[in-house]
Amino acid sequence: MREPTWFRWTRRIGLAVLLAFTLLPVYVMLTTSLKPLRDVQSSFRWWPSRPTVRPFFDMWHTIPLARYFVNSLIVSCLASVASVLVALVAAYAVSRYRFRGRQVFSIVVLSTQMFPGILFLLPLYVIFVDIGNSTGITLYGSRVGLIITYLTFTLPFAIWMLIGYLDSIPRELDEAAKVDGNGPMGAFIRVVIPAAVPGVVAVLIYAFMTAWGEVLFASVLTDDSTRTLAVGLQGYATQNNVYWNQVMAASLIVSIPVAVGFLVLQRYLVAGMTAGSIK
């Protein structure tokens, strides 16, 4: 059917408004990161009076940005890799075996996804402190504590998504591998995992993004030496007399890795996320 004129114009105007709304902060972030300090201390201007890349160098000295960055990188990488490994074997069990408790496991794991984080925060804090006092394993204030917390937060969605992915891989592949003399784990490692790579990568990115941006638990479970970017940068931005050009430069730098990863892999993520809702 041909598009009526009124609808074409509604569409164009609607898209333009949505685009402006969506891109305004991105524009502000980009241009402000290239402004000299005096531009951000007076009334807002659309374009830097004299574009400069100084904020990208100065930002490392104003706050301990490098330390936050390293902390975030270590925590997010390890948490996402561990989450994928744990989720993958669990999803394999649910997808390929019929066993007692299978249903209960899926329901319990999925429902933890909806529980408010604020409910776990204080208990987790006292449990971490208790474990530290009784066993000497430092979880409170350490990266390890944050890593296992984040890995668990991403587990429900990761398991759910990987079950969907593994279900779509024909069982005949496993059977063929077993006929070739592999045990169940051999079939899993040699055949199923290679076939599930897109799903694995999507879950990896999802888990990384979650850990990279988490604020609530990081604000309580870290100390000065283990503080992550999300909390460190926020703490600086809500002070008085903020060097906004440097904050915008820092925000840009911390956004690029995740944003590129997401936009490149959005197809896989969408496929995984919608599989459950359309079925």
């Binding site: 059917m1 598009e3 009526p4 609607g14 898209l15 949505l18 685009l19 969506t22 902060p25 991105v26 972030m29 201390q41 009334s43 807002f44 490994l85 989720a87 074997v89 669990a90 069990a93 649910v94 075996y97 496991f105 319990v108 909806m114 529980f115 408010p116 984080g117 604020i118 409910l119 776990f120 925060l121 204080l122 208990p123 987790l124 006292v126 402190v129 296992i148 890995l151 668990t152 587990l155 077993k178 006929v179 003399g181 169940p184 941006g213 604020v215 609530l216 940068l233 931005a237 809500t238 904050v247 925000s251 995740v258 944003a259 936009l263 959005q266 996320m273 919608t274 809702s277 359309i278």
Partner: protein
């Protein structure tokens, strides 16, 4: 060894059932072994803390006895009575916070869905640059939330921010520069930022949903005389119902529990007008150090969310039975 035997049997006679009795015990252990790490982490981080949280909600727990929390005096339902006594300060504040969160969730949900729907329908048919537009729409969702909210924080500054510059200097809609991050306007700011952040998710899911609608349905509707509006009303919306059902529940839970947006925008203590429930509980636990009452409020929040989710799901189950 067993594998070899079974393999040869299978190759010899594919139709014959293989005797499995000897294999079964080993087989049944394996799935549990595979699940063990996941169960371990779920127990340590989700299940046990939840039990501890419920336990703490029954204690008089403050910063003075936190180090010895297991021996804190028992409060019974005392903390719940404090939280739910709407005549007193704590209860009144909780009730206020609940209504703020409710209004916030309703507005963010409605606007995000509307924007997502509009964006998805407007990009349903191909045009030049559609791929670029779609990618641009996803940017808010792809950015780390804290970086995006910090940018909004800058934009909403009274004297140096872009929002006041647009409203006052460019469009001359206002004469004086309003404050956006303190006072009553902070609620507007919160909704604005949350919509910016959440509508791309609605867009993403609805776009995926639209792709599963068959083109001949639209053709049939067009032959029956339906225009653009009619097609949206009689084809798009009904076909999207299952997708919308999940989308709205997910958005509801996210928005209602939202902590990152208010915390990153306002810091540890939110303005009165934007006192969302999660930040309210956070504040009563970690700023005023009243852990028992804070935990009681968290348990009440969980109960409320379970109730709403339960009603929502069973309402739809009842309705979808009619179609089946």
């Amino acid at each position: 060894m067993v594998d070899t035997v079974e393999r040869s049997t299978r190759v010899a006679a594919p139709g014959t059932p293989v005797p499995r009795r000897r294999r079964r015990p080993r087989r049944e252990l394996l799935p549990y072994l595979l699940l063990a790490p996941a169960i371990l982490f779920e127990l340590l981080i989700h299940i046990v803390p939840m039990g501890v949280g419920v336990f703490i909600s029954l204690l008089h727990l403050t910063q003075f006895n936190l180090h010895d929390w297991r021996h804190a005096p028992f409060a019974g339902t005392g903390n719940y009575r404090v939280a739910l006594n709407f005549d007193q300060a704590a209860g009144k504040a909780l009730l206020h916070s609940f209504w703020v969160t409710f209004a916030y969730t309703a507005l963010v949900l409605a606007i995000s869905w509307l924007f997502g729907m509009a964006g998805a329908v407007f990009t349903q048919h191909t045009f030049r640059g559609r791929g670029l537009v779609r990618t641009a729409f996803l940017i808010p969702y792809a950015l780390p939330m804290f970086a995006a909210v910090i940018t909004w924080n800058f934009m909403l500054q009274r004297d140096t921010g872009a929002v006041n510059h647009i409203l006052v200097d460019d469009l001359h809609l206002m004469h004086s520069r309003p404050f956006w991050l303190i006072g009553p306007n902070s609620f507007v700011s919160l909704v604005l930022v949350a919509v910016w952040r959440n509508w791309p998710f609605a867009f993403l899911i609805i776009t995926a949903g639209l792709q599963s609608i068959r083109a001949d349905l639209y053709e049939a509707a067009a032959i029956d005389g339906a225009g653009v509006i009619g097609q949206i009303r009689y084809v798009t919306l009904p076909m999207l119902r299952p997708v919308n059902r999940v989308l709205i529940l997910v958005l509801f839970l996210w928005t209602f529990n939202d902590f990152t947006t208010p915390y990153t925008l306002f810091g540890k203590s939110a303005p009165h007008a934007a006192d969302l429930i999660s930040i309210h509980i956070y504040q009563s636990s970690f700023v005023t150090w009243n852990f028992g009452v804070g935990s009681a409020m968290s348990v009440l929040l969980l109960g409320f969310l379970l109730l709403v989710t339960g009603i929502y799901l069973s309402a739809f189950r009842a309705r979808s039975d009619d179609y089946a």
